[in-house]
Symmetry: C2
């Protein structure tokens, strides 16, 4: 008798941003897998096994989750934010494609508040008009693809949410991304650095792209570059609804 596999989004950090659907799934799980800092957000209890793993182990973790579910577990794979946005859901379906014996398993994906929505809400409404989301990590795609997408996004006048802008192992990409956008004529656009949103050390900084420097971002930062119309009102930043 097989169990179930649920891929759940924990939101950006605060329990007040976890959907009831996800809370219920966590409360009835037998096994929870994920990157260690996310698994640690779930309280231990009898009958629940926590399986924390390393950041880079997505595909392995996904395969293990499928195995545990096939063995009868009520298995939950947790992601920060939304599991479908630069997170575990794609890895699970990739693993499923590699292991067709599991294709009849009951699988559910439960959405969550992804980082750009939480960051945008704290800043005002910078995603109130057409926008795009780009993962700045070049672990799984060539840097040339990122650069091309940034140029086209600037030309389309999208607001741009940048995930994973900068890490210890990728210290230089974000500076190059800023340079690409300056070169594309976006120097006067507003940029929001949203760090650790909904955590106790949350911090928001807004300035123009010309004044932004690479060191302003780290692994816990979500960056939103406004479109050409994005403006301030008081302490808020928003994208007007109308474009003429």
């Amino acid at each position: 008798m097989s169990g179930t596999l649920t891929i759940a989004g924990l939101g950006p950090g605060s329990d007040a941003l976890v959907t009831p659907e996800v809370s219920t799934a966590l409360a009835t799980a037998t096994d929870i897998l994920g990157y260690a800092p996310y698994v640690s957000r779930v309280a231990p209890r009898p009958g629940l096994t926590l399986h924390p793993s390393d950041n880079r182990a997505e595909l392995q973790r996904a395969a293990e989750a499928l195995r545990l579910a096939a063995d009868g577990g009520e298995v939950v794979v947790v992601s920060s934010g939304d599991p479908g946005v630069f997170a575990m859901a794609s890895a699970v379906f990739e693993a499923l494609e590699l292991a067709p014996q599991y294709q009849d398993l009951p699988i559910r994906v439960l959405p969550g508040i992804t980082a750009m929505l939480a960051a945008a809400a704290r800043a005002g409404a910078p995603l109130g008009h057409d926008f795009c989301a780009i993962n700045l990590s070049d672990n799984l795609k060539p840097w040339a693809v990122i650069e091309k997408r940034l140029r086209l996004a600037a030309e389309a006048d999208f607001s741009i949410a940048m995930y994973n802008p900068r890490s210890a192992s990728r210290p230089d990409g974000f500076g190059r991304a800023l340079a690409v956008l300056k070169d594309a004529g976006c120097g006067e656009r507003l940029v929001i650095f949203a760090r650790a949103i909904s955590a106790p050390d949350e911090k928001i900084v807004t300035l123009t792209l010309d004044d932004a420097t690479p060191e302003m971002a780290d692994m816990r930062t979500l960056v939103i570059v406004g479109n050409s119309q994005t403006r301030r009102v008081g302490r808020w930043v928003y994208a007007p609804r109308q474009v003429r």
Copy 2:
């Protein structure tokens, strides 16, 4: 003594997708404003005044919310999905800019599960790689802007979430959008029509863009066009994490 203004996202429809933070705001509100079908999702109770209004009345509604909050109300403006994505948050900041006397009001934006995240979760993980979100309504922007963004999004190989694809007053735009994408060489891409996600009459259809027709979308549909790598595994659709 002034009150507060909260702009809250109700998610796509199911109560299981309303964050605890939003539920708390609704439970302590004195006034709730919004498009009538969204306001009707809030149960009446003593001490709460419901202010339903028409779909097109965003700016008026936002101004009224500011006035009620300045008069001491605990005012909540509700949107479906996330208030910052093609919803009420931008309208409130626009109204605030027009009424500087309210700029010291305590304002909060509470994020919600926006339609594309709910739709993507039901379909699999079609937003697992870089993507964009485009509002297909040309009420507040020229059609030429929409068309240009679609062409550039195709060239960037973004997955594309299309909000408000088609309505009774805009029957033709979605067909033109499909034609633009076909013309841009996207005919073989997978397209997901996600209708009324998390409601009892929820429906998901996936097919290629070449097989998609305008009538497949209506006001309650969110459309996701995959990128060139988007693929099926069993009944799921996902964007692989890796691009070579």
